[in-house]
Structures are given as C-alpha cells and as structure tokens.
C-alpha cells in the first residue's frame, strides 16, 4: 500500500475516532481535547488533498484559536472545578431515529454514486490563487465578513466593559 | 503619546543598562572556588568541630555544664590512691580516670561556650569541617583513651575501694552498710568480673604488626589517625593508619591494638598520612573472625599462671569477640586489612580480677608469632563489629 493511502486511512480513523470520543465523553475538557485530534486529523486530510493553506489555516484558527477559546471558556466561566461539568444527553430517542434515517440516506448516496477518479495533480501556488480570488471575484463577501468580525469585536468589547462596570 | 514614548525609552534604557552590567560581569573573573580542588583558608579561630586533648583533661566536667545543649557527656572514675595519673601540660595533677568523654557533634551548636571554662584548655574548636556522615551515630565522637577492659578494671578498683570504705563503715553500722553495698552493686560503674588480664595482646606482636591499615574511612591514603598502639611499638608497626580520620575516639575501638597500652592510645592526627603504602595488612591480634579470638588466649598465656581462665572465656563468647568497629566502614579493596582483634568481654573472665593487675604495660611483649593470624587483605570485617562501639 502506498504511504499516502496509509496516511489517509490513519488520519481518517483518527478524525472519526476522536470525533466519536468527543461526542460520547462525559468530561467536557476531555471532549475539548478530543476535538483537537479531530481538527488535526481534518487538517492532515487537507494536506493530503494538497490544500496546504487551508490545512495551516485549519490548525491556526481552529486548534490555535477556537479550541483554546473553548478551553478558556470552560475553565474560566465555571469557577469551580471543571470536573463538576458533565455533558448530558437529552431527547435520545427522537434524535437517534432521525440520525439513523439521515445516515441511511447518506450511505445510500455514497454507495450509489459513481465517484470520478482523477489523476493526482499538485496545484501550483495555492496562495496566489486564493489571494486573487479573494481580492477580485469575492471581494464583496470578503469585505462583508471583515465588517462582521469587526462588529463582533466591538460587541465583545462592549460586553466586557459592561461587566466590568457592574462590578 | 510623548509620555508613553518617553516611558518606553526609559524602559529600554534601564534594560540596556542592566544588560551592560551583566555583560561586564560575564567577562569578569569568577569569585567562586572549585571546592574539592580548591579550599578556602579558614581563619585560625574558625569553629568547625570540637576536639579534646584527653591527655590534658582532668575530668572536671565544667565544659559539659557550660554546654547549653548538653552534647558533652563525661564520666569519670576515681583513681586509686596509689595510682599516679600524671600531670597535664599546665601542671595540674590528674586524679580521675576519664572513662567516658563523648561529644555528640550532631547536637553541638558550635557556640564555643564549652571552651572558655576549661581550666587546662584541653577542649577547643578545630578547623576540620568535612565530617558529614550518613549515620548519625558516627557523629558521636569519643575521646576517652581507655579500653573497655581498662575502664572495667578501674571501675572495679574504684568499686573495691568504695566497698572497702563501706566495709569500714559497715563495721560501725552493719545494717546501713548492707544497704549501701547493694546500692553500689547496682551502679553501672561497678561491673563485676572485669576482664583485666587481656590487655597487651597487640603489643605482643610488635614485629609482625607491620601495618594495620584499613580501618580508615575508605581510602587508605587519607587515614589520618593513628591509634595509640603505634606508639607502643615504635619502629615496628611501621604504619598503622588508625581507626578513622584522626578521631581519637576511634582508637579505642581497636581493642587489639590499643589494649595493651592504656593511656598511650593518643590520637595523633595526620601522623599516618604518608604511611598507607606500607600498610601491609597484618592484623593485630586475631583473625578478625569472631569466635577465633586466638590472640586473647595467647596474650593471656604470657601472663603465666594468672589468666588461665581466659582462653576458655574468649572462645566461649564468640559472638562477642569482635573486631574493630570502625573498620566496618572501610571499602573492601582499599582498606586492605582489618585489624580484627578479638576481645574478651568484661564480665566473662571472672577468674581474672586481681590477678592480672600488673599486665597493662607488662607481660605483653612476649606474645609468640603464632598469635598473629594473618588477615586476608580485602576482606570485610564481620558486620557485628559495629555493635562493639563501646568505650
């Protein structure tokens, strides 16, 4: 078996396995760390797809940013010990019925579709392409996203100062 | 704005000032010593360890009383009226046997208060500071130079004299005397049946005891102490790197060596420093194996007709015929021979008292060669040696 294929299966298993662990873990911090493995696995899959920029972004933003934010949130907002924080499963029966149906549908689609197989071709200059696209074709969505983030930052600042004010 | 720039500049400036100072030190000389290779010269008054010149001690107990932490323990026995113990270096007459002079350096707080009251200046602080040990018991230093036998003997003498005094009293008041005698019996200082016939066993082998090395704390080259026995056989025992690092207290614990020469077992620190090369490894008196305390019998034999009962005694208490305690510390292979002298235990040689009185100093030199069993170099001394650390 080729190394790439092997790596693909390894990272797929890592992603799925840790995702399952994350869903079923009772301890929220364990779940957060399991999420890290999932995200890393996804990043590795991006690499295997020659999407190196996306992969690095995935790590930088999700692992380095959002996950840490989650952990911070878990650890800072509950002032007691994080052990006291447990995840709880509700609406187990209806959800399992719906999810079984969805899964069945997806498996059906997966099996019936004929997947086109293409030759592996390493794309040249992913960042250049991305940059051109972002600043030419998708300039408006890009700017709107920027404004959205700015609004979010201002909102966060406002909330933080309010809390401080109340104290 | 200007203010914060100024502040930023101040911060950077102070950091660079600090870095300038540290880089100057970086290229400057070092102020430390490479300790085991280089040593600081201690001032002559440095207080690091207590030392007692036991020859000058008159047993006045003043130092023990001055000690705030009670780390000095002195026990004395009154010498008989006919015994001359000599004089101290400043001329005072000694009247007491120092049967026990123990300083527990683990307790000592180095306050120096004990040295001031001493009338003969025999207790003082010395500069030796490297005497840490794994075993706290080894910090208990013993300075009395009497062998256990000698102590038992002088105690017996003292007891007899006391008893005689008691008897005189008893003649006057019999009931009273009986009670007094009982009390004196129970005193630890009067152990009945002290083995007095034994001293001299080491002395008897002058020609053979060419070197009793090994008892030192490991490296022969560093053995600084020399037990008193060396003095008694000058020129013959060529190198007896003694019991331990110049600790006089250890000299006592080589019974075979020091036995015959009570009073002579002075510690001569540094005396044996160059000697170890010559230490050929002939133990003093016996094979060092408990139970084979051959030297004791032979020593006794030289006291014809007097110590007859001793051979049997020594043999009969193999477990107690112990050799040098300090030698237990020696590293095999370095401390090549262990003066495994046997010693008969006081209290066993019951037949002896009174008869062997003249022995210490006397009939020792006649011990035949066979008494000097050869010790196998490198052999470790029996473990129970440690138990023998009596004084």
């Amino acid at each position: 078996m080729e190394l790439t294929t092997l790596l693909f299966y390894f990272f797929s298993l890592l992603t799925i396995g840790s995702a399952i662990f994350m869903v079923f873990s009772k301890n929220i911090v364990h779940a957060a760390f399991a999420l890290m493995f999932t995200l890393l696995g996804v990043a590795a899959l991006y690499v295997l797809l020659f999407a190196d920029f996306i992969a690095a972004t995935q790590i930088l933003v999700y692992v380095g940013g959002i996950l840490i934010l989650i952990l911070f949130g878990v650890m800072l907002t509950t002032k007691g010990f994080t052990d006291n924080l447990k995840t709880l499963t509700t609406n187990l029966r209806p959800v399992s019925v719906v999810m079984t149906l969805v899964a069945a549908g997806m498996i059906y689609v997966l099996l019936t579709t004929t997947w086109p197989v293409a030759e592996i071709a390493e794309p040249e200059g992913t960042i250049t392409g991305l940059g051109t696209l972002l600043l030419k074709e998708y300039i408006l969505p890009f700017q709107v996203t920027g404004v959205l983030l700015l609004v979010a930052i201002i909102g966060a600042l406002l909330m933080a100062t309010k809390v401080k004010h109340q104290q | 704005m200007v203010h914060s720039f100024k502040q930023g500049w101040q911060t950077l400036k102070s950091i660079f000032t600090g870095m300038g100072i540290t880089i100057r030190h970086f290229f400057g000389p070092s102020v430390t010593l490479q300790y085991p290779d280089e040593r600081d010269v201690l001032p002559k008054l440095a207080r690091s360890k207590l030392f007692v010149n036991i020859d000058d001690c008159i047993g006045c107990n003043l130092c023990a009383r001055a000690c705030p932490v009670n780390c000095i323990d002195i026990e004395t026995v009154k010498a008989g009226a006919d015994v001359d113990l000599g004089k101290t270096s400043n001329g005072s007459q000694k009247r007491l046997w120092i049967s026990r002079f123990v300083i527990d350096m683990a307790k000592c707080m180095y306050c120096d208060l004990c040295t001031y009251p001493c009338p003969t200046d025999c207790i003082y602080m010395v500069q030796e500071y490297e005497y840490s040990d794994f075993n706290r018991d080894n910090l208990v230093y013993k300075f009395s130079n009497l062998t256990p036998e000698k102590i038992a003997e002088v105690k017996e003498t003292a007891r007899i004299e006391a008893e005689e005094a008691e008897k005189k009293k008893a003649e006057e008041a019999a009931a009273k005397a009986a009670r007094a005698s009982k009390a004196s019996d129970s005193r630890p200082s009067s152990v009945p049946g002290a083995a007095r016939g034994i001293p001299g066993s080491a002395k008897g082998i002058p020609g053979k005891a060419k070197g009793i090395p090994g008892a030192s704390k490991g490296v022969p080259g560093k053995a600084q102490g020399i037990p008193g026995a060396a003095k008694s056989i000058p020129g013959k025992a060529k190198g007896i790197p003694g019991a331990a690092k110049g600790v006089p207290g250890k000299a006592k614990s080589i019974p075979g060596t020091a036995k015959g020469v009570p009073g002579a077992a002075k510690s001569v620190p540094t005396a044996a420093k160059g000697v170890p090369g010559k230490a050929k490894g002939v133990p003093g008196a016996a094979k060092g194996v408990p139970g084979k305390a051959k030297s004791v019998p032979t020593a006794a034999k030289n006291v014809p007709g007097k110590a007859k009962s001793i051979p049997g005694t020594a043999k009969g208490v193999p477990g107690k015929a112990k050799s040098v305690p300090t030698s237990a510390k020696s590293v095999p292979g370095k401390a090549k021979s262990v003066p495994g002298t046997a010693k008969s235990v006081p209290g066993k040689a019951k037949g002896v008292p009174g008869k062997a009185k003249g022995v210490p100093g006397g009939g020792a030199a006649k011990v035949p060669g066979k008494s000097t069993a050869k010790q196998v170099p490198g052999k470790k001394p029996p473990k129970e040696n440690k138990d023998n650390n009596t004084d």
């Binding site: 760390f33 692992v63 940013g65 994080t82 992913t126 960042i127 | 950091i15 600090g18």
Partner: protein, 337 residues
C-alpha cells in the same frame, strides 16, 4: 511511494531531530555557563573535563533513570501525552526552516504560515499538561501560558508579516535567497534588517514577542518559580519533564532561527561571497540563531519578570498597536522606494 522508497525520506526528516537534540544538549550547558559567567561563577566544571561539557549528558542520564511519577488524580492519558505533543509541535515546525541552501525539510510555499500555525499547538499542549496534572499551580500556570502565547501570537504574526510584504514570499527559502549578496552601498550585507528602517522596529517587536512565545524571562510566567512553583511542569518528573525542557529549548531555537531567516539573511554569509556554500551556510545560520539564543539567555539572567497583567498590557496596548502602525509604515516605505 512504497515503504522502501520512503526510507530515505524518513532519514531526511530526521535531520532536524538530530540537530535539535545536539543543540538542546549544548544549549542547556550553554545556559548554565552563561548564567555562571554572568553571576561571577563558573557553572558546571566537573563532568567531562573541560568546563563540564558533559554536564547535559549526565543530566540526561539522571532524568532517564528517574521515576515517572503520575499523580493519582491526574488525567492519565493527557498527562502522558502533553509533553510529546509539545515536542512534536516544536519539531514539526522545523520542517520549513531552511538550514542551508542545500537542506530544508519541506520547501512549501506557505512556510512561515505553516510554522506559525503549528506552533499554536504548543499552547494546547501547555493547557493539556496543566489541566491533566490536576494541580492548582499547574492549572494557574497553564492558563497564564495559554493567555500569554495566544496574545503574543498577534504581534509575532504582525512582525513576520512586515517582513513578508518586503520579501514578497511566505517561503522561507525564497526569503533567504533574496537576501544574498551585498547591498547597494557595498559594505553591508543585503539583509532585510538593513533594507528598511522600520524593519528594525519590527525586529524589536518580533524579538520581544518570541521571548514571550518561548516563555523566557522577562515573560517566564508559566514557570515563574517564585510564584507558581513550576507552573504547568510542577507535577512532571523524569523524561516527561525532559521532553518539556527539550521542547522549550527547541522552541527557542526555532524562533531564533526564524528571526535569523527573516531579518539576518538566514544561511547567507555576512561577508558576501566569502565563506559561502551549503556547509558554511549551515554554520552561519546556526551561528546567527545561537547569537539570538545567547541574547535570550543574557536577558534571562539580567531582568526580573513581568506580572501577568503587565504582560498583557504590554502586548495588547503597546506591541500590537505599534506593530500595526509599523506594518503600515513598512508598506508605505516599500511603495515609495
């Protein structure tokens, strides 16, 4: 690619590991010597003869022999895993460092970006170690570290970006190659730091930030031993603790080398064509990196440490605005000249 074909690749990727290990042993010894000399001492002198050069080996030997203690209440898997994740993150980042004109782990286009991304794993591993230890000191240390590293990533990235807009490439090899030769005046090397006056400011920001990123004094709050005992490393011992040390020193080297690439011409010789070539290139590169490491040590043994809120203040209120302004100024300068 089959297994056999990938063997040379395995050897190829092991080269930085060897470099890191040798460097870590050397750097730990060097740290002690630097500390010793600065403090009028001599540092290690006994192990190995000349100036105790084998001290690190002795320490390694000691650490290997030590018992691996895991607290009873610890989260076992995470506790065991954290040191390795930390070292893995440091090590993985070396893939895009151009050690010499002939050797570079992976010549990818997004080099710097990848490097910054992968080092963010360090933060996670610190939190992991701190939380898994189930120790209050560890947790406090971990929280501080995480906050510190996340915050200082911003000025680091801004400083790096400043260089990138001058260099025009994220590939570190390209960045290095464009710094070869002498500049127009002829006596200064063609390094980026001499090319744009604002890059000097960028370098200062970068250097302060990497001090904080690799938690060195004055930003060593994660381990500030006088307050938090040993921060997130409190419960660690033996080889796991050694992995932390290794990762820390590797991180130091990584960021120093990054600084050398971005500002000091990477493997380019300071004398133009003189003493140039792949081997010399490696030497010069490590030399530049080690000088930065030395300065880090020098600072460590000079300064007290900041308090946690002052650290944040320095980052968010001074360095980040300054780096943004500087970024704009550099861009302007590049447009004008």
């Amino acid at each position: 690619m089959t297994w056999l074909e990938s063997l040379p690749l395995a050897v190829f990727v092991m080269i930085p590991l060897v470099i890191i290990l040798i460097y870590a042993l050397f750097a730990i010894w060097m740290e002690r010597k630097v500390a010793g000399f600065i403090q009028d001492r001599l540092g290690p002198m006994r192990v190995g003869g000349w100036h105790g050069w084998a001290q690190s080996f002795a320490d390694l030997l000691k650490l290997i022999q030590k018992e691996d203690i895991i607290p009873a209440e610890a989260s076992k898997f995470l506790f065991r895993f954290a040191p390795f994740l930390m070292f893995a993150a440091s090590y993985a980042a070396f893939a895009v460092i151009p050690f010499s004109s002939a050797y570079m782990g992976s010549n990818i286009d997004i080099g710097v970006f990848y490097l910054l991304a992968i080092t963010s794993l360090l933060t996670i591993s610190v939190i992991m170690a701190g939380w898994a230890s189930n120790n209050k000191w560890s947790l406090l240390g971990a929280m501080r570290t995480a906050a510190q590293m996340v915050s200082y990533e911003v000025p680091t990235i801004m400083a790096v970006l400043s260089v990138i807009i001058v260099a025009g490439s994220l590939n570190l090899m390209t960045v290095t190659e464009m710094q070869s030769g002498n500049d127009t005046l002829g006596f200064l090397p063609n390094w980026l730091i001499f090319q744009n006056p604002f890059l000097l400011v960028a370098f200062v920001i970068f250097f302060i930030s990497i001090l904080a990123e690799s938690h060195r004094v004055p930003f060593d709050l994660p381990e500030s031993e006088s307050e938090l005992v040993a921060g997130f490393q409190t419960e660690y011992s033996g080889m796991r603790w050694a992995m932390f040390m290794l990762a820390e020193y590797a991180d130091m080297l990584l960021l120093s080398l990054l600084g050398a690439v971005l500002f000091f011409g990477g493997w380019n010789s300071p004398f133009g064509g003189f003493m140039d070539g792949p081997i010399w290139g490696f030497f010069w590169f490590m030399f530049k990196g080690m000088i930065l490491v030395f300065v880090m040590m020098w600072i460590r043994w000079t300064l007290p440490r900041y308090r946690v809120d002052q650290l944040m203040y320095l980052c968010w209120s001074i360095l980040i605005p300054l780096s943004f302004i500087n970024f704009v100024l550099i861009a302007l300068w590049e447009m004008l000249f």
